[in-house]
């Protein structure tokens, strides 16, 4: 906790300064089509942009302390409302994609590590290289073309829920969870169907680092002294792989997972565009294009807090996977 406070303060200052350094004048942008100098000035005053920078900063920090992230101009909503609505959408997509990615990439990496140089290893390499080298918007459009446009198997890429479903009551903001809480299986399936193509798209992209890291961590674990010892002790192959090799190889994989999660949350803007996903990435990009200060600041701040949280979570996971780390802290 003590470490996070300076980080957050730093993020607040930097995001404020960076947004002010953005090219473009929001007052002109939002004054509309036929605005003249006087009406632009009116808009500037209405937005509080006529005040000096330190004044603007003080107002911003004061609002922040009251939990007010300001009003987004491009969406017309309070930034906090936007974020609480859009962050779960992005998180749901990213987590499902990451889960899918792990389900494929980790076994694939383990298999490749146990049989280096065989066809499994090559398959793993081809798959992950292809996955990472195809840009997500391309994979997305190709998937839509085959599974929606040509065959009609996938539902219309119209965001989180087709319009024929009623949105579940909001509890967590995750449609999959909320619909189950409401006991509405139909909506759950509807939300799941909408998730399939975008999460595959994102999973293909995130598989590579996970599979590569699993493979190399497993190879180094398998060639280590302790594995030689347990082999000599005559333990079964499964026990060796699962208990001794994999558990030791998990640490770098978890680190990678944390990194992949962080970048894919920001990087899935292209997936969000293609699948009309109301996520946080496309929100930030729209806000940037419009020089929407409050929204950009809110986004940066939310992401910073999220990263701090994810790092904390990963540190905790370390100690679960490898109890030595926990002991070391206690000494």
């Amino acid at each position: 906790m003590a470490q996070t406070i300076p980080v957050v303060i730093g993020v607040v200052v930097i995001s404020f300064l960076l947004t002010r350094a953005l090219p473009g004048d929001p007052a002109v942008y939002f004054a509309g089509d036929a605005a003249d100098a006087a009406s632009i000035q009116q808009v500037r005053e209405a937005l509080g942009l006529d005040k000096s920078m330190p004044q603007q900063f003080l107002i911003y920090v004061g609002d922040l302390l009251r939990g007010d992230l300001g009003q987004s101009l491009s969406s017309g909503q309070p930034v906090l409302t936007d974020l609480t609505y859009r962050l779960p959408a992005s998180l749901e997509l990213t987590l499902v994609a990451l889960g899918l990615s792990c389900l494929i990439a980790i076994p694939l990496g383990v298999l490749a590590a146990t049989r280096p140089g065989t066809w499994v290893d090559h398959l793993c390499r081809v798959l992950v290289t292809a996955g990472v080298s195809l840009p997500t918007f391309f994979t997305g459009v190709v998937l839509i073309y085959f599974f929606y446009y040509l065959t009609g198997w996938a539902p219309a890429p119209l965001g989180r829920l087709d319009f024929i479903y009623i949105e579940p009551d909001r509890v967590t903001g995750f449609y999959l969870i909320d619909s189950l809480l409401a006991g509405d299986i139909e909506t759950f399936l509807g939300a799941l169907k909408q998730l399939i193509l975008p999460s595959i798209t994102l999973a293909l992209f995130t598989m590579a680092p996970i599979a590569r890291m699993t493979r190399s961590a497993m190879i180094s674990a398998l060639s280590s002294d302790y594995i030689r010892t347990v082999r000599a002790a005559g333990l079964s192959r499964t026990t060796i792989l699962r208990t001794y090799a994999f558990r030791n190889a998990l640490l770098p994989v978890i680190t990678t997972l944390g990194m992949v999660f962080s970048f894919s949350l920001g990087a899935n803007v292209l997936v969000e565009r293609v699948f009309a996903w109301p996520g946080i990435g496309s929100y930030a990009v729209d806000a940037l294009v419009a020089s929407d200060y409050a929204a950009v600041q809110g986004f940066v701040l939310a992401m910073a807090l999220l990263f701090v949280f994810v790092n904390l979570l990963i540190d905790l996971l370390y100690s679960v996977v490898d109890p030595r780390i926990g002991f070391a802290d206690n000494e």
Partner: protein, 537 residues
């Protein structure tokens, strides 16, 4: 096809704000009849407010003012160039007003409001509501106030509610722009009682309330709205402003990716895709129904800034106008959608606008003119385009760049981010060579010249100043088109514009709409979707 029928017959709408009454009407409708009652449309833009008068309301949101609110008057309907229907600038029709009269001297307009006109909450529309709404439009500042001013509507004192059904507007001078300006989206009529009840001392015009909660009398109500995702319209069955719309409900989904929008309309999962790219319009034509309407009073132009020394020489400007490969650009950037604006007659013979310029692609003439100027060896100039409009600006700029290089004019492409573009091009007017687009809502040439050719006005990005133009625009702007002086003066304006050529017309862009299962689409000057005439095909 099974899937589609089940989708429609389900007719459950993803809305949080479905009211009990709307659910009951859904239940009693037989599935077969229900199929035609709901339309799904997609657009690439976000609706960021339900109140057009609010600071920061974007273009896409204007459609809410059109569909959910009424104005006193509206425009008629006519067949459009390029297929489909269009609003008719020449006819003004009643919307909330039953009738109106203009006094002898043209200074007093008196409107009688329809007695059966009711707001969505059942309250009758009164002259006091109109007065409050007009006061608001001229007081809130920003775009609404500027647009009101164009029609001579400047101060609240000009508006009077004589009694419940009589509303008058007093003008400082008679103007042909006043009535049409009452039919643009801005002067929409708000339920003033609801608004006042939700106003605060800091927010006397209830901007915060109306931003999310419309209080209108229009053909549709907003059943649900989620910025960045969707807006659901539901028909107002008591609408008095015109003929009852043929659809009960319209779901407007926001889909950012044009490729996804295209797949959706081709599959028929959505019935209308609004404002599709020119390329898609060309390729989809034949597969689904595509309507491309040339936008009235709107042109894509190449702007030559007269503060840049070489462009002060008329011969250099003419050389530029002859060096543009117009047809190639029209095909590459517009995919042949819209109207050509070059190769016209040398003599101006009508007040038609936009019209073809007398210029065409002729490198010999270009070299001739450049030779006569002080810059016969060419010069260097930055060529600015907006990243936000790069779909047409980039191919256009590249072709022009290549062509003027043959004259020795070296240009470097400067791509300006969308947020910066208006400041650089229109407010500071500092771009020597740039592409520009302006379209006037009020369809008069004098109105176009007012914005784009008069000195100091926003869309005069060329910093053009000509004393005769200044005088002619001032004279014609409020003059009746029937005035015998009008046509000659306008034609003179055209002659000067083509002779001085500070803005080189390229083409008149089109607004493209694809439909697959919907009909009755009508083009409007505000370039937003008016859903009131739509029906299921």
């Amino acid at each position: 096809m099974n899937r589609k029928i089940s989708r429609r017959s389900l007719l459950k709408v993803g809305a949080t704000a479905i009211t009990a009454s709307s659910l009951s009407f859904l239940k009693i409708l037989p599935a077969s009849a229900a199929a035609g009652d709901v339309l799904v449309t997609v657009t690439g833009q976000t609706i960021n407010s339900l109140d057009l008068h609010r600071t920061g309301t974007n273009r896409a949101s204007y459609q809410v003012a059109v569909n959910v609110y009424d104005r006193l008057v509206s425009f008629g309907t006519k067949e459009a160039v390029g297929g489909g229907m269009s609003y008719d600038y020449a006819t003004i029709e009643p919307e909330l007003a039953e009738s109106w009269t203009v006094s002898e001297d043209g200074l007093l307009l008196t409107f009688k409001i329809k007695s059966d006109a009711k707001f969505h909450d059942g309250k009758s529309v009164t002259a006091q509501d109109v007065k409050w709404s007009f006061d608001r439009a001229v007081s809130v500042g920003g775009f609404p106030t500027v647009q009101m001013k164009a029609g001579g509507l400047i101060r609240p004192e000009q508006f009077t509610a004589v009694d419940d059904v009589t509303f008058t507007i007093a003008l400082d001078k008679p103007s042909k722009l006043t009535l049409p300006d009452l039919a643009v989206p801005i002067p929409f009529v708000i339920n003033s009682e609801v608004a006042k009840a939700n106003a605060t001392p800091e927010d006397p015009w209830a901007m915060e309330y109306l931003h999310k909660t419309p209080a209108g009398s229009g053909a549709f109500k907003v059943a649900a709205w989620k910025p960045g995702e969707q807006l659901i319209y539901e028909r107002n069955d008591d609408w008095a402003g015109g003929e009852l719309p043929g659809i009960k409900r319209l779901v407007l989904r926001e889909v950012a990716s044009p490729a996804t929008r295209r797949a959706l309309i081709e599959r028929g999962d959505v019935q209308l895709s609004f404002n599709i790219p020119n390329k898609d319009a060309k390729e989809l034509a034949g597969e689904v129904s595509v309507i491309s309407t040339p936008i009235e009073n709107c042109m894509h132009v190449l702007g030559l800034n007269t503060t840049f020394e070489p462009f002060q020489d008329p011969d250099v400007r003419k050389a530029m106008a002859y060096a543009i490969p117009y047809e190639e650009i029209f095909q590459a950037a517009a995919y042949g959608r819209g109207e050509r604006l070059w190769g016209g007659a040398a003599k101006v013979d009508s007040t038609e606008w936009p019209r073809k310029s007398p210029y065409e692609y002729d490198m010999d003439k270009a070299l001739d003119h450049l030779g006569k100027s002080a810059f016969s060896k060419g010069f260097d100039v930055p060529f600015s385009i907006s990243l936000g409009l790069s779909d047409w600006m980039e191919p256009t700029a590249l072709l022009i760049q290549e062509s003027i290089a043959k004259l020795g004019i070296k240009s470097e492409l400067e791509k300006i981010p969308g947020a910066n573009w208006r400041t650089a091009a229109l407010v500071e007017k500092r771009l020597p060579l740039h592409l520009d687009n302006f379209g006037g809502w009020l369809n008069y040439p004098c109105y176009y010249f007012f914005w784009a050719y008069q000195h100091g006005h926003l869309f005069n990005s060329s910093n053009y100043k000509n004393d005769e133009v200044e005088a002619l625009v001032d004279e014609t702007l409020h003059m009746s088109v029937e005035d015998p002086d009008y046509a000659p003066k306008i034609m003179r304006l055209f002659e000067i514009a083509f002779e001085d050529i500070p803005r080189i017309p390229l083409w008149q862009p089109a607004l493209n709409v694809a439909t697959n299962g919907a009909q009755g689409y009508e083009f409007w000057f505000h370039r937003q979707l008016d859903i009131r005439g739509l029906t299921s095909a």
